[in-house]
Symmetry: C2
């Protein structure tokens, strides 16, 4: 595809309607006028967009949001109503020619270079390098930051969840209702998918981004049925023979047969719940996944528990999801008295019995149930209990697939919850994750900044007593150096005038600010991190389907050593500068330092 | 205005394009099909939307988002492409009639009652009561939650900032770049304004919502000028006489005259900075507000400080904004050596000298400068230092208005920072607040839920071992009872069949779940909290301008006793139920409780 074709394709792509030039801080526009008025229309600048610290106390970040930045550049244009608004808002003395200048402004003279979207990235290495007219480069600052900050934060958060959950567990994003505004939810769905989630509950995200959408029913569905009389239609035709079956009769029959396995009597289970599950199964015979924790069983099992359960519960570690759970109080005291089940269990057993009954009835009609969702209580323990029941049913009725039923868990889950569940040996196949994921509760903002590093060919350095805040001046290139084992060793920033590092040649890598920290590296592979994405008013990279960006996240993460990715006390990945850039920084620093500077 | 006119006005109002029926969880749609398929099309339900805990460890919440909810109801409609997407997404067995049903669906049979937007609200008291067909009431759940949760969280956060900042300080929202997505930023601007902020940097929010927008320039503006040679034009005409003046000459002259007051020599100040400030002043002679902390002074003042400064600094409490500040290290050690200024001061003095010089030059041209912005360092101390210089200049040159120059502070400010600055006696007139405000860093999500409380006239109760999670069943009304001093005493939930409490008549108010907690209240005023907002397909309340909602927040907060609003250990406000509702809840509870229940 030619650049022009790519550009017009990008122009057609769906873009959030509010991503437009006025989605910015006013000071960008007042500065634009002051630059314009000061004869700086032809000044040429280089800005770096980067962050200073990885989020979530981790040592890596996933870069995302690039495609949205490109759409923004492609469509950058002040509408008549924008200009009208600015005329009313800015002081009266603004020269009318400035508004004419704004009216015609596009981003065609901007050149944008960027790291590939979905790559693992590190502090101080610019994610975007923006070159071009000072005024325009300044005008796009806030919007670029807005588009990169949350996207990258979200993708990083999702990637971290994926790492702790492991490859074999599905992760679904369920956070729309708690997201920071409608678009906070939509962005969360998109970047959670990029970061490694398997789907979302957000239907609009599914429609817009072609992300798999998932969901079955809520507690309110169950409570909207009071008794078996509430079932409207009981008939389900066999999947193959099309013979009509009475699903109510089959289910009540099965409920009797499996009650011993699930260890409660049919009378103890809720009939309203059974009615709800039968109705749901008739509506979705191929997609029967039931929420099973709506009701307590109706009566304690006075007889005590069969030995296998008692044994299991004694080994029960009492895990409780970190907040919002119902059972804290009970888990603190001995939970199994002569009255029988713990509260934790009671809440599951009615649903489990009803689910198994309907699932077995569905099986008679040629359908296989999908599984259950647990939304409260001790998720590790309940998942083990449920799996055990499934295994027993599989064995009792010679239905091996019953062992493989999906168990979804979805109560206020975060990274730590998953780590703790892993320790306890849960039997969960899928996590549905909401608030903590979509609001990035542990750290709700990434601190990307956008700094002027060169103007009219002259480097700019922002000094600060806090060395972490000193900017690395000038037009730079970034390289990732890999070792023989395929792992990334170090990211190296160089002045753009320097030759690229070469495979097999030793490169002096220096800490940007500490003279004593330096090392020679002989790379087995060198990756030039920047790609030109936008130049001469055209997009120069092919937009990738989300699925490819998602794959890039995983392949990029695989190049990181495990100790950099681990949850507890990860090792920092090294970011270095070339010797040439080191000297350049420190010469400039000296020129700009206060005379008499001691530190 | 008639209901029809209100409705069509609301239909025309700007709405975020993504607020549409598919902005929901898939399970709402699968449940809708299961309800439809189970013959529940004519079932009528009542849902309550409420939260269980106030955010930010406070004891109040501001309700916001209602107008967006109404726009959503007005425009609720599945487009052809929505239906097409759902057909592809749902299983093949879905009956085609269901899609026809969805296609024609509107919210006209829904009745929405709500507390007035901008009111102070409390846990368990429903903010919205949704009545109508079960299927439709269920389908709108997620979107309503999304629209209320963040709006209310944000308005509450902003109101808390306003309370700690006091009435006499301006508050500006500067958070767009760190917000959770573009619309997270836009929503933050809107609801921060409602909560009590005075303006935003977000230009699009200004355009959409008619919020005052503010902003001047960034550090990059200053660093884009290297020397006085970078000034393009030096001429400014006098505001009244229109006589042209040379602002560069005037400024350099003034710099010499005020250098003793600001206590650095002109040679120590940055010329690039002076060039930038002159250029900015020429562009905005009526709006000259300068960022003054870009450069260190060039040389230590070896002679030591004049006594007044030394005295001041000895009394300096060493406050440092809680994170991201430059000076932590230095503030831990004695900061004033024989070398002269602390780092904190050095960063301010160059900018302060240059600002005062340009402000005085502007004064010669008939313009009054606005003030300065400080974006780093010890904000309390620096503001005092700056104010002291302004006072001295005011006195030295007989310009009393110079004392009144605005000091804006904007470095990573949160509620605690402001409280701490207050303790130290700062001289700041305006805070610009970003990340902590717009992402609600202290608690990034409000946990509103949406619970079925009645179906076909039958109450529904959701039981839980956690009493806080038990829902209050049935169709209810809510009243706020006020004492003789005008303060709100208690919120009272009643069954809708009960007569409203009356002024001067004693009312028995009971804790919903603790039998022993009850009290008689004799209200001096009774406010019925619910207003019908949407009925028979029409909006029934007049949409209020943002400014009125903003005023409502402050007037509503004034009805709360101070101890409920205080920052540390606030007193919980009481929410009660009538005796009738109490008995109703507990009868239902008993009917639904497991036999043998002990707790």
């Amino acid at each position: 595809m030619s650049c022009e074709e790519l550009t017009s394709k990008m122009k057609m792509a769906r873009q959030n309607g509010i991503v437009q030039p006025l989605l910015t801080d006013l000071y960008q526009i007042t500065m634009a006028y002051a630059y314009w008025k000061s004869g700086k229309v032809n000044d040429v600048a280089v800005f770096d967009l980067f962050f200073r610290t990885n989020p979530f106390q981790g040592e890596f970040t996933i870069f995302a949001g690039l495609e949205e930045c490109l759409k923004f550049l492609v469509n950058f244009h002040y509408s008549d109503s924008d200009i009208e608004y600015l005329k009313q808002t800015l002081p009266d003395n603004i020269e009318p020619e400035f508004f004419a200048y704004l009216k015609d402004l596009t981003c065609k003279d901007i050149k944008l270079s960027a790291i590939e979207e979905g790559s693992v990235v590190f502090p101080r290495v610019p994610l975007l390098r923006v070159e071009g007219p000072l005024i325009i480069a300044q005008l796009i600052e806030t919007t670029l930051l807005t588009l990169v900050n949350f996207a990258s934060l979200m993708a990083t958060n999702a990637a971290r969840y994926r790492m702790v959950a492991g490859k074999n567990v599905s992760l679904l994003e369920f956070g729309l209702r708690r997201a920071q505004g409608p678009d906070g939810g939509l962005s969360a769905s998109k970047y959670a998918y990029i970061g490694g989630f398997d789907g979302t509950s957000n239907v609009l995200a599914g429609k817009f981004f072609d992300i798999p959408v998932k969901g079955t029913h809520a507690h309110s569905f169950v409570t909207s049925f009071s008794s078996l009389d509430d079932i409207h239609s009981v008939t389900l035709r066999h999947a193959e023979t099309e013979v009509p079956y009475n699903l109510l009769e089959l289910s009540t029959e099965w409920r009797k047969r499996v009650s011993a396995i699930v260890d409660i009597s049919p009378e103890e289970a809720s009939d309203g719940e059974l009615a709800a599950l039968i109705s749901y199964a008739i509506a979705f015979p191929t997609g029967f996944l039931a929420l099973v924790d709506t009701y307590d069983v109706k009566r304690y099992n006075i007889q005590g528990l069969p030995s296998r359960h008692r044994q299991h519960m004694n080994g029960h570690s009492g895990y409780n999801s970190n907040c919002g759970s119902n059972d804290t109080r009970l888990l603190k005291s001995p939970i199994h008295s002569t009255y029988g089940y713990s509260t934790v269990e009671r809440t599951l057993r009615s649903g489990l019995l009803n689910f198994c009954a309907v699932a077995l009835a569905l099986n008679d009609c040629g359908y296989r149930a999908v599984g259950i969702r647990i939304d409260s209580g001790d998720l590790a323990y309940l998942s083990v209990l449920a799996r055990e029941s499934f295994d027993q049913i599989a064995e009792a009725f010679k239905l091996p697939w019953f062992s493989k039923l999906t168990i979804v868990a979805s109560n206020d889950i975060n990274e730590e919850t998953i780590l703790s569940l892993n320790e306890q040996g849960h039997k969960i196949d899928c996590f549905g994750i909401g608030t903590h994921l979509v609001t990035c509760q542990r750290q709700p903002a990434l601190g990307c900044v956008y700094k002027l590093v060169e103007i009219n060919g002259q480097p700019r350095i922002k000094l600060s007593q806090d060395v972490g805040k000193v900017t690395i001046p000038g037009h730079k290139e970034a390289y990732r150096l890999f070792g023989a084992d395929g792992h990334a060793l170090i990211d190296l920033l160089q002045r753009s005038s320097e030759p690229a590092p070469e495979v097999g040649q030793k490169v002096l890598c220096r800490h940007p600010f500490q003279e004593s920290k330096r090392a020679y590296v002989i790379p087995s592979k060198v990756e030039h991190l920047y790609k030109e994405c936008w130049k001469d008013g055209n997009v120069c990279i092919k937009p990738k389907p989300l699925l490819e960006v998602r794959a890039r996240v995983q392949s990029s993460l695989r190049t990181l050593r495990q100790d950099i990715k681990r949850n507890l006390n990860p090792t920092p990945y090294k970011v270095a500068v070339s010797d040439d850039l080191y000297c350049f920084i420190h010469d400039l620093w000296l020129q700009n330092a206060p005379i008499g500077e001691l530190s």
